[in-house]
């Protein structure tokens, strides 16, 4: 698997078999959506576009929604196949669709964690198990998305009137990133990448935005030693001299000085992937990774491992 967008959870430690302490960072991701696959023939290069993080459908910009059109088409096709092959699931979906009471229906959806898009698609395309592939195409998907947008507003209004909690229609569009890769054949539009796909990988590179430290001086920013604290010294945390006098008559480029520190993209390479807990969607990574807890990070297979 090439990459995955995750969330940093926090740090803790575990013991290995010898009783040695291993510092670990937990990284969480419930699954990355494959939004687009770029190929050499079509785009001039091959890459995979993945996205993560729920966003309400009415908040997504139109061009991105267009991308979702194609991916969702594939996803709905394969998911519906699954639903129609499983009788229990099918009866659950149809019973929810038949439910007239709004409050009860929303409760059922929340209880069974049902994807509203799939639910509405059964209704919208008037699907009965034999011919659903024919009724799903780009044109009808466009109408379906318009229907979803309208439905999202309708449901939200209704919920507000009744004063109950409403299940919004979400698409994974919070954060979208593209990753170049030669072989795109193993990726399927509209499917998900999970933490379990990293099973065979031992070392990873992690990219994130480091904690911002504002305007920092040379001790924090560059690790200068500073002056003595006492014994009459008046030189404590200053940078000191920044160069000579008439010759060269200027400050050399790249002189380490105070300035903005942190809040920049940082990649830590060759971190050990200690363990993966699949049912909790968590990866355990040895050592520290950039950013605050809750930040987005990108986990990639190590590029420069020896």
């Amino acid at each position: 698997m090439i990459a995955m967008i995750c969330q940093k959870v926090g740090m803790t430690q575990i013991f290995n078999n010898e009783g040695k302490v291993i510092p670990i960072t937990l990284v969480y991701s419930s699954g990355n959506y494959i939004l687009d696959i770029k190929t050499k023939e079509k785009d001039g290069y091959s890459a995979v576009v993945i996205s993560y993080g729920n966003k309400k459908i009415n908040k997504i910009k139109k061009p991105i929604l267009g991308k979702f059109l194609r991916a969702e088409l594939e996803r709905i096709k394969s998911s519906l196949k699954e639903i129609f092959s499983n009788e229990n699931l099918l009866s659950l979906y149809t019973s929810i669709l038949k439910e007239q009471d709004f409050v009860k229906r929303e409760e059922l959806i929340a209880q069974h964690k049902i994807d509203k898009i799939l639910l509405y698609s059964i209704d919208f395309f008037k699907i009965n198990d034999s011919n659903f592939e024919n009724s799903l195409n780009k044109q009808s998907m466009k109408q379906f998305f318009e229907f979803l947008l309208a439905k999202q507003g309708e449901d939200a209004l209704k919920a507000k009137e009744l004063g109950v909690k409403n299940n919004h229609i979400y698409l994974p569009a919070r954060i979208i990133r593209e990753f170049r890769t030669e072989d795109v054949s193993k990726y399927k539009l509209g499917s998900y990448i999970n933490v379990s796909d990293f099973k065979d990988i031992k070392l990873v590179d992690i990219t994130g935005i480091s904690k911002g430290r504002g305007f920092a001086s040379v001790i924090k920013r560059w690790g200068f030693k500073g002056g003595p604290a006492a014994h009459g010294s008046k030189f404590h945390r200053r940078p000191g001299s920044i160069g000579s006098t008439t010759y060269p008559g200027r400050v050399i480029k790249g002189k380490r000085m105070p300035g903005h520190y942190g809040n920049e993209r940082v990649t830590i390479i060759n971190l050990e992937l200690v363990d993966i807990i699949e049912d909790r969607n968590v990866m355990l990574i040895k050592g520290a990774i950039p950013g605050a807890n809750g930040n987005w990070v990108i986990v990639r297979k190590a590029k420069r491992s020896s």
């Binding site: 959870v9 909790r280 968590v282």
Partner: protein
Amino acid sequence: MNKQELIKEIEKNFIKNIPRFRPGDIVRVHVRVTETRYNQKTRKWEEKTRIQPYEGMIIKIRGSGVGKTITVRKVSQGIGVERIFPIYSPTIEKIEVVKRHKPKRAVLTFVRNLSEKEMRKKFKELKE
């Protein structure tokens, strides 16, 4: 997803049942030690594990969860020895509480400067 719950769930696998103790208690920590010895007969290096008890007073408890450690101080042949144990480490077989005291501080680094007589005066045994 709840952050703290996830972290706790991972720590749970390592946290063992240990007796309750507090600073000032005399504890016996059983540590598993691995030794490599040269066997004259077989002419080979052999690994041998044994359990080594270490008895002393807890003078500091630090951290929480799996990272919790205790500092245990004893006076061995007139020389003060302090060891820091991660209490949930798999190398620690068990921890026994030998004697309980009720000091007035949480961190007892001041005992380093006390004589034996002063120690007896400061630490009265706590009886349940």
